[in-house]
Symmetry: C2
Subunit: 121 residues, 2 copies
C-alpha cells in the first residue's frame, strides 16, 4: 500500500505538470517562442488558436515559469512574450517529441487505417 501511495503521489505531481506542459497549444506556442519572442497577435496569426485559448495558454506558461510577459510599451499597449531560461530547457525534449511525430506520421496513418478497416468489418 505504501508502494502504491508513493507511486500515486509521484504521478499526481507529475500529472499536473505534464498536463500543462504537454498541452497541444503549449507545445506549439513554445516552439514559436523558441524561435524568437512574439507578440500576442503575432502568435494568433501563426497558430490556429483562439484568443481565449491563447490567453489561457500564455497565462499557464507564465505561471509555470516557462514564458515571460514583458510590457514593451505603455502608451500603445504592446506586450511581448519570450521564453525563459527554464523554458529553454524544455526545448530539447519537446523537439524530440515533435521529431518523433514527423517521423512516424505515415506509420500512424497506416495503423489508423488498418484499425478502422478492422473495426468496420
Amino acid at each position: 500500500m505504501a508502494e502504491t501511495a508513493e507511486r500515486l503521489d509521484i504521478t499526481a505531481a507529475r500529472r499536473e505538470v505534464l498536463g500543462q506542459v504537454l498541452d497541444t497549444w503549449s507545445v506549439l506556442v513554445l516552439e514559436e517562442l523558441c524561435e524568437s519572442p512574439r507578440r500576442f497577435n503575432e502568435l494568433r496569426r501563426l497558430l490556429p488558436v483562439t484568443q481565449k485559448s491563447l490567453t489561457a495558454t500564455l497565462r499557464r506558461l507564465e505561471r509555470t515559469g516557462i514564458v515571460e510577459r514583458i510590457v514593451i510599451s505603455d502608451r500603445p499597449v504592446a506586450i511581448e512574450y519570450r521564453i525563459t531560461r527554464l523554458g529553454k530547457t524544455l526545448r530539447d525534449p519537446i523537439d524530440a517529441i515533435l521529431a518523433w511525430v514527423e517521423q512516424h506520421l505515415d506509420e500512424i496513418d497506416r495503423a489508423r487505417a488498418r484499425f478502422d478497416d478492422e473495426a468496420a468489418t
Copy 2:
C-alpha cells in the same frame, strides 16, 4: 499565404497526433506498458484512472498503433495490452519529458508561488 497554409497544414496533422500521444493518461499508460505487458484491471490498479478513460486511452493508443490488444484467453475473458514496436520508439522522447518534469518540479513550484503572490498583490 502559401507559407501560412502550409504551416497550418503541418501543425494540423501534428496537433492531432500530439494531442493523442501527449495526453496525460497515454503517457502514463505507455510508461507502464514499457515495463511489461499489463492487463486492463492491472493498469487500473496502477494508475488513478477511471475505467472509462482507461478504455478510451487504450483504444486510442491501439488505433494509433502504439499498443496491441491481445486476447490471451477466451473462456475466462483475459486481455493483455502490450506495447508495439512503434510504441517503443516513443519511449525515449517520453522519458526525456518525464525526466524534465522530475528535474524541474521544484523550480516550477517556486515559479508558481511567485506568480500567485504577484497576482494577489
